[in-house]
Amino acid sequence: MTIQSYHRPETIAEALKLLHSSADIEILAGGTNIVTSSKPGGVVDLQRLPLNEIVVDATTATIGSMVRLQSIVDSADLPPFIRQLAQNEAINTFRNAGTLGGLVARAENDSELFAGLLVFEATIQFEDRAGSHTIPLSEYQPATIGRGIITDVTLHTDGTAVYERVARTPGDKPIVAVVGRKKGDTITLAACGAAATPILILPDQIDALTPPADFRGSEAYRRQMVSVLSERVINELGGE
């Protein structure tokens, strides 16, 4: 099946209508994945929707779903840690095309930015025909949104954060990465490469993880790495 129709709606309502016109129509964000993976029958390109804003207040930032990853890198208003994770997330051609909404929707298990958003208590706002909804990013599953459209992601911007990773090369996707944030006395951890998507983890429950194995890392190795890197992150954040 190849793409037969291309749509570029002007409003979210129009986009939702198109999405419901056929089960075979998918959302096109930056496009870097849809072209290479599953090819739907039609695509709805969100580039004209008003989802390109970054709005920052004292302790939170709200990033529109069509904001490019490079715009996150370039936004002086965002926490340097999040900007750094956005920079690490992809090569520059993909940062210039790829969007935050696309990244969140795909929830790839090696996305360090996704893990970073988790520890910064991110919530996703999405719209479907029933209206607008907000859910914690930690509860997101690709199926959650259904025939809806992610409109923006809101994260907290306070606290300090660090990350540790193991990868084949410095610029490679991580095999395992652990991101940690300390706010007050509380440390929150999230891990990549530990489950089907990046997840929040608790140090005493690492042994129960069943990471997805591939040629870059077996299940046992990944589990061990989550443990090693979590310990490092906690140390760096001054935890115990």
Partner: protein, 984 residues
């Protein structure tokens, strides 16, 4: 649908389908600088600027670009007026094949528009989207730094290549104060008579290298302008009316018999013009490796077989009006398979009871088909068993090297068509146009004279294109349809259906005397040649030669079984058996030195070959089974001592003894270490590699140089032109070089075996010398000289000894038009029975995380003796790019398979190649020696950079952690497992 864009400041409307990528549409509209590297955006070869930002046009729908502004390099320059970024790429040697140069130029343009003074990290990030398999990113980064300076109105500050004054090894110049070392001892046919002390030999600044004016200079590439501009120069950059698109149907099974193929539904699909498979293509046996006649046996392939032997093996090919119809037709071909048991490991494959991969009755010359043993190679000098018995210490270690791919960013592509004379023209991305013509002829049932092979610019090859790989397929389909046919491999096909590097299991056993001298060395290899033989024999003979040549030893033995398995086919890959052998050898030598408590470098030094030593195993390991080397080759030049010393200095070798340096404050899990390896390679295949060149003068005193040599991005056209210019006394711009076209250029074996500078270069030099003689004779006529032997050529003039001169233009006009008219021209060819080895010292610095196994390579230094360097810019580029490929081999590149032999990482990303923003520091040092047998003193440089990184890394990891890893690549879990095992 239509899209409206502003492209290069022009308003344009393009028709496209909803599913078409921007890359496909732009190429169709004639923007050929936007190039195919993959369909995943990972190569960046198709990068363009969209509203000023660099994006990969192969992962953007054309429809997404509607209403936007696009820039390609076609809009950057006008005629010969290049953009400053393009000029910088040209002058700083940032262009090799040039396939991805347009993308890099655009990346720089976008960066500099926003940031006129970028840091190196920012430049590297700007290039992070573009995979480069050629330059190691060193020179593109320098070029962008220079361009930024130029655009700011400043003078660029970029260091020139690190190149040392040539040294020579003159007889009788031994300096006794240095310990009685004699650099040119009489060869005694046995172990070294030379290394009596630790003092290195003392090379002298050479006195016999003539001054040169073009050779030895960092001239810019002669093909650089068209590459910087993205001009249509590659195979796919032409438009042919009525051209059909071919697609391959490949096997989903690792081993299966094809019981039946039914192509009726596919043929019924409108737009499908032909389907080729075993039922309708004649069964003609061949071996696909691009090698000299007669190709080494066995001939174990046919164009289409009724058996498949690896996932990705050919089943059928379709030609259709469009790519989409061809793809749809593949789904309509019904293939009935009988799936057979498969075997993937070389050691398992040769065991009793393993599935027999070549059971077809018509193949001959397989050593033992029943046991999947394609070849059994044995060679020896002396008696290793007696040597082991006499040795004071005997060491034995087993190593394993894995499968990787060459990954040229331009995949294999060929276009064939009938010309007006009813001859079949094949325009193909090949390193071996002449071998392709000869090898494809019997498969197509055409005489050689009815085939013309054209090699335009090539987007890298690295050995993958030393193969007659897809030319038979387009040929069959053009013959079936009468139409032009184009076949381009996808990236996944490039991984699974082209060629790779041979995996090997290598056991080294070495006997050492109490004074640290080698007395016996044995190399026992089981090599994996995959489903077919192709280069299986010759890669392994080279592997044995390289494994047993670096060190003097009176008793040597090589024993190698070449095994068939059901993995995608190994073939030629830059280095050709040497990287495998030298990984094993150089780790083994390190292990011996460590165990004996010897200094790792001194132990090597007292054993390594020096000037005057003979390579005694060479006569027994000629190219394949043909003993082309009769005499023991003697080393006439070696800068190995200097390479190792300079490498030590550059990496600061003594740091490894400082405990404070070996750890990182605050990071107790990190360990630093240094490792080194000695490298020695060959230069061309003695007695076999031959190159031809033809030179003629034009009306204006310029010269056409026609060479069969195949520039695949290496810069050989430039280097060959420099040699011609040097002899003819003209600047480089007066040389117009053309390579290669079987109708137009003299024969050349092709671009492989590090042969072009040495072999084709000598052919060019001889041809130029022939032309020079004719010019001198003409000057004699013009100036009425009785004796013209003293005439010299310089500055575009021919000079009589009495000081009178004529311009070459006047001379050409005189010769072509005025008096005793004659075309001044000369053709020459060259074959050598020498293969002078280049030498190198490779050094690496690593940081190892002992809790995760992650290895970070911090610095690589390679000091190379490649003889006199013809062009320091292109030569250092070869070293930088080769070293980075070697880093991928050692560190992160690998084929991953599922249990059925299907590759699961056949795209970039999962198959990891280093990118610009994650590179270690790289330093290249060119140590020049005067090689008496080479043109202007040159030896080879193309392949030796592949040889030392893997062992140097293993040795550095050992230095850092005390754990020895005898298998590559050094990926985190493997290193972690080794650390775990060691701590248990």
């Amino acid at each position: 649908m239509n899209i409206h864009v502003t492209i290069n400041n022009e308003e344009k409307t393009f028709a496209c389908r909803a599913d078409e990528t921007l890359m496909r549409v732009l190429r169709r509209e004639g923007y050929f600088s936007v190039r195919f590297g993959s369909d995943s955006g990972e190569t960046g070869a198709a990068a363009i600027l969209l509203d000023g930002e660099l994006i990969a046009a192969d992962v953007m729908l054309a429809a997404q670009a509607d209403g936007h502004t696009i820039e390609t390099v076609e809009g950057l320059s006008n005629g010969l007026n290049l953009h400053p970024i393009q000029r910088a790429f040209l002058h700083y040697g940032a262009i090799q094949s040039g396939y991805s140069t347009p993308a890099m130029v655009l990346a720089a343009k976008s960066l500099l528009a926003k940031n006129p003074s970028p840091s190196e990290a920012e430049i590297r990030d700007a290039l992070s989207g573009i995979l480069d398999r050629e330059t190691g990113y060193v020179k593109p980064v320098q070029a962008i730094q220079a361009a930024a300076a130029l655009m700011r109105g400043e003078e660029p500050d970029v260091p020139p290549p690190n190149i040392l004054t040539p040294v020579d090894f003159e007889p009788g110049v031994a300096d006794d104060d240095q310990g009685g070392f004699d650099p040119t001892p009489e060869f005694d046919g046995g172990s070294g008579t030379v290394a009596k002390t630790k003092a290195p030999p003392q090379p002298k600044l050479t006195s016999n290298i003539p001054e040169t004016s073009v050779v030895g200079k960092s001239e810019t590439k002669v093909d650089g302008i068209k590459l910087a501009k993205g001009n249509p120069a590659f195979v796919d950059d032409i438009e042919m009316r009525g051209m059909l698109y071919a697609k391959l149907l490949t096997s989903p099974h690792a081993h299966a018999r094809i019981l039946n193929i039914d192509d009726s539904d596919a043929l019924a699909l409108p737009g499908v013009r032909a389907v080729a498979h075993y039922k309708n293509v004649e069964r003609v046996l061949y071996a696909s490796g691009g090698q000299s006649y007669p190709n080494p046996p066995p001939y174990d392939q046919v164009s289409f077989d009724n058996k498949v032997r690896h996932v990705g093996d050919r089943v059928a090919a379709v030609a259709a009006d469009t790519l989409e119809i061809a793809e749809k037709a593949l789904e309509l071909i019904k293939v009935e398979y009988e799936v057979l048991p498969a075997v993937f490991d070389e050691t398992e494959a040769i065991k009793e009871g393993a599935p027999v991969i070549h059971d077809e009755p018509d193949v001959t010359d397989i050593h033992d088909a029943q046991h999947n043993i394609c070849h059994h190679i044995e060679a020896h000098v002396g008696d290793v068993e007696a040597g082991f018995a006499a040795a004071d210490h005997v060491f034995e270690h087993t190593y394993h090297v894995h499968q990787v791919q060459q990954c040229p960013i331009e995949p294999h592509i060929a276009i064939s068509y009938w010309d007006a004379d009813e001859r079949l023209v094949i325009r193909t991305s090949t390193q071996v146009p002449f071998h392709v013509r000869r090898m494809v002829a019997p498969l197509l049932g055409l005489p050689v004279r009815r085939i013309r092979v054209i090699k335009p610019r090539i987007g890298g090859g690295f050995g993958a294109k030393q193969e007659m790989l897809i030319e038979d397929i387009v040929g069959h389909l053009t013959i079936k349809t009468g139409r032009p046919v184009r076949l381009e491999l996808t990236r996944a096909e490039e991984f699974m259906s082209s060629r790779t590097r041979h995996p090997q299991t290598i056991k080294f056993k070495t006997g050492v005397s109490s004074d640290g001298k080698l007395v016996s060395q044995q190399m026992v290899t089981i090599a994996n040649t995959g489903a077919y033989g192709t280069h299986g024999l010759t890669v392994q003979t080279v592997s044995g030669l390289r494994g047993l040549s670096t060190y003097n030893c009176p008793n040597k033995q090589f024993d190698c079984k070449v095994a068939y398995t059901n993995i995608p086919i190994p073939g030629a890959y830059r280095g050709y058996g040497a990287p495998q052998a030298l990984f094993a050898l150089e780790v083994h030598m390190d292990e011996i030195a460590h165990t004996l408590g010897l200094d790792k470098i001194e132990f090597r030094r007292i054993n390594w070959v020096n000037v005057g030593d003979g390579l005694d195993i060479a006569p027994h390991l000629g190219e394949g089974e043909k003993e082309t080397v009769i005499d023991i080759p003697i080393i006439l030049s070696s800068g190995l001592n200097e390479c190792v010393e300079l490498g030590q200095q550059a990496i600061d070798w003594e740091r490894r003894l400082d405990p404070a340096w070996r750890t990182v404050p605050g990071k107790p899990h990190l360990r630093r270490g240094l490792g080194m390896a000695v490298c020695m390679h060959g230069t061309a295949i003695p007695g076999l590699d031959m190159g031809g060149a033809s030179i003629k003068i034009n009306d204006d005193g310029s010269f056409n140089v026609l060479v069969g040599a195949t520039d695949l991005g290496t810069g050989s056209d430039t280097v060959l032109s420099q040699m011609a210019a040097e002899v003819l006394g003209v600047p480089l711009e007066d040389i117009i070089i053309y390579s290669s076209d079987t109708d137009m250029t003299p024969f050349d074996t092709g671009a492989y075996a590090s042969s072009t500078t040495y072999i084709s270069g000598t052919a060019v030099k001889k041809a130029a010398e022939g032309v020079r003689e004719q010019i001198k004779e003409r000057v004699g006529l013009m100036l009425e000289l009785d004796d013209w032997s003293g005439v010299t050529l310089a500055n575009r003039r021919a000079w009589a000894p009495d000081g009178r001169s004529v311009t070459l233009e006047a001379l050409a006009l005189h010769s072509l038009h005025e008096d005793q008219q004659r075309q001044i021209m000369h053709t020459a060819s060259y074959v050598s029975f020498e293969s002078p080895p280049p030498f190198a010292g490779q050094f690496c610095e690593v940081l190892v995380d002992i809790k995760t196994g992650q290895v970070t390579v911090e610095k690589m230094v390679m000091a190379v003796d490649a003889g006199v360097v013809i062009n320091p810019l292109t030569a250092s580029g070869q070293v930088e790019g080769g070293m980075v490929q070697a880093l991928g081999y050692a560190h992160c590149e690998e084929y991953a398979y599922d249990e059925n032999g299907r590759m699961i990482n056949s795209e970039f990303g999962p198959y990891k190649i280093y990118r610009a923003h994650e590179m270690p520091e790289i330093e290249t040092i060119l140590v020049q020696t005067m090689e008496p047998s080479g043109p202007f003193g040159a030896k080879a440089i193309a392949e030796i950079p592949k040889d030392g990184v893997a062992p140097a890394l293993s040795n550095a990891i050992f230095d850092a952690t005390g754990v020895r890893i005898r298998e590559i690549p050094f990926t985190p879990e493997r290193v972690w497992q080794a650390l775990q095992s060691a701590s248990e």
